[in-house]
Amino acid sequence: MNALEHRDTQLTRLLRSAKNATPEGLRSMLRPVVRRVVPEDIRASVHEPPVGPEGLAAADRWVDNHYTIRDGGTLRRFFFLCGCFKSGTNWVQNLINLHPHANVRGEFHFEVLRNAVDQLTNVYWFLGSKPRLREVALDGSEAMIRRMIYASTRDKPGATWLGDRTPNPLRTMIRGAPQIIITRDVRDVLVSWSFHHMRVDTEMGIAVPFRECWAEARPRFLADPDGFNPLDGLLGHEGWVRHHAGHWAQICRASREALPKLQEEGTPVLELKYEQLHADLDGEVERLYRFLDLDPALAEAPSEATKTRPGFGREDRKSFYRKGAVGEWENVLPENIRGIIKECAGEEMIAAGYAQDLNW
């Protein structure tokens, strides 16, 4: 008996049944109440259904291709959702999760493992670089990835597509596994990212040179979030803008360069744009489900409760889902900040179709 089975009490089984019988929309509404009332360890066990007779071993072996497993009589497939930070990866995750046959979680950050596997299989004096052993090492690392995703997505037994959402560039995590990438205008990304850091109460995600600026600005933000001018915080810090605009460009460039190779290898890739999701949600959602070979008619409709409608109908500067607007940058960014963005990300903006040239 393993740790999971130990935790599977009658109470958790009851709560799990209730959860599975509740539509996602209602679940989202009830979530804040459940979080207050049900202790964390019980919530965790509700999220983790007991393992079947085969345990988690189903994810260990692939059938047909590296991203498909046979779980009892059901075939389950793996996919990856990526993109830049604050570009709508959470939104797309929520949209996918409206479908009863898909379950995506985040963030796994498998790039850490992949970097290590690349080293293990490419340094010429490491045994893993020998072709026959390279294949075993790659297989083993992909089994690690499948097992981790599978372990976290079993709370939706009907899901045949299991995914990871991590804000990252396009990159192979499991050979051939479908990839969905979402891109957003860097100018809106920066506005959104600067508010995100003002909201979050830890400096851990902020690079060291910008922590002083953050620590100095955050009390003013907390004292008056609605009156806070983002240019008085990180968005007004030239180094911070340079750093993150460059990071956005790096992610876009890496993805742009990876795309032809992935397509050549036969990896299905769906490219989404945040702005297009805003403009035509129904059309884009249909495209999303069709990409995964899912019937759109079976999915719940997007709703504000599931955070799946464009924007949030209001601005709440203290929420992860602050505003979700397109083109907000036009009212916020001054000339000097625009100049830095052009310098660091101008070419990639043109390549991604966000600008015709540098005269904006």
Partner: protein, 309 residues
């Protein structure tokens, strides 16, 4: 259906499943020698070097970020178990290629001793850090500029880079001028620091591995003891794996399992394999630099009685 080698959670050899062991130690400490000695037994297949520490470090990092999903159960445990399975698959595949029926499968990698696979056996090879410094310096010179630039930090590599270009043309130079080999403070401090850090880290890991709840076993093997009585140490290692030493082949020059080498060619991978070689190359100044960094560990490891060596 594609089925990988069946994962095993067992690490001790049974009639149907191989046991797993890992040979670890500082580079130039005799890990190859130990691996060759173990391979003299028909039930042992040891290959290398995989460098699983690259994956181990990534696994450790992945499960240690508290706000990430990978830091929570059941993903954390699943990650650890999947990592163990990956290691077993890779090692078994490599070992079966060499010896299909071996009961023990091993990986030899000159890297840190890590507490990573419950129930496994670990052979920890130790060698006097000063001999390691000499052997390691020759090894780097033999490898040449490209490898030095790629593997040695810039603040310590200047000395080697200055020496390496002439090494191929005149490898005997250090026989005539031994004081040149360790004549640079940054380099001596670097090799001393690397050995010292490794010794401290491995000592801690050995304690961790032998915790009852981890259920691992560590056998420390000294290079110097291997020199003094190779067969006795080989037998000790085989008994550690529960094997009968009588079934093993004797050490031989052909299998690179005898102490030392006939050649003293500094350009060869197996250069000399000698104990106490360091005395030829350490000047008083080099001793002072080395002692300053690694003196305590030399004493703790039993290679020096005190600071007066």
């Amino acid at each position: 259906m594609h089925t990988l080698t069946e994962p095993t959670r067992t690490t001790s050899a049974t009639a149907t499943r191989p046991g797993y062991f890992f040979v670890r130690g500082h580079p130039r400490s005799g890990t190859n020698w130990v691996s060759n000695l173990l391979n003299l037994h028909p039930a042992v297949s040891c290959t290398g070097e995989f460098h699983f520490e690259t994956i181990y470090n990534a696994v450790h990092r992945t499960k240690s970020i508290p706000w990430q999903i990978t830091g929570r159960e059941p993903i954390r445990t699943e990650l650890e178990e999947a990592f163990g399975d990956m290691v077993r698959r890779c090692v078994s595949r490599a070992c079966r290629d060499h010896k299909p029926d071996a009961a023990w499968h091993g990986d030899r990698t000159p890297s840190d001793l890590l507490c990573w696979m419950p129930g496994a056996r670990y052979v920890w090879v130790l060698r006097d850090g000063r001999d390691v410094a000499v052997s390691w310096t020759f090894h780097q010179l033999r490898k040449g500029r490209e490898v030095i630039e790629a593997s040695i930090p810039a603040d310590a590599s200047g000395h080697l880079l200055r020496l390496c270009d002439g090494f191929a043309e005149d490898p005997e130079r250090f026989v005539r001028e031994p004081e040149l080999l360790l004549g640079d403070e940054a380099w001596v401090r670097h090799v001393a620091g690397t050995w010292d850090r490794r010794y401290r880290s491995d000592t801690g890991a050995a304690r961790e591995i032998e915790r009852p709840e981890f259920d691992g076993e560590v056998l420390a093997v000294r290079y110097e003891d291997l020199h003094a009585d190779t067969e006795a140490q080989r037998d000790r290692m085989l008994e550690f794996l529960g094997l009968d030493p009588a079934e093993s082949e004797p050490p031989s020059a052909e299998t690179f399992t005898r102490a030392g080498y006939d050649s003293t060619d500094p350009t060869k991978y197996r250069r000399q394999g000698e104990v106490g070689d360091w005395k030829k190359y350490f000047t008083d100044q080099a001793r002072a630099w080395y002692h300053d960094v690694a003196g305590d560990s030399l004493v703790r490891a039993g290679y020096a009685k005190d600071e007066h060596w």
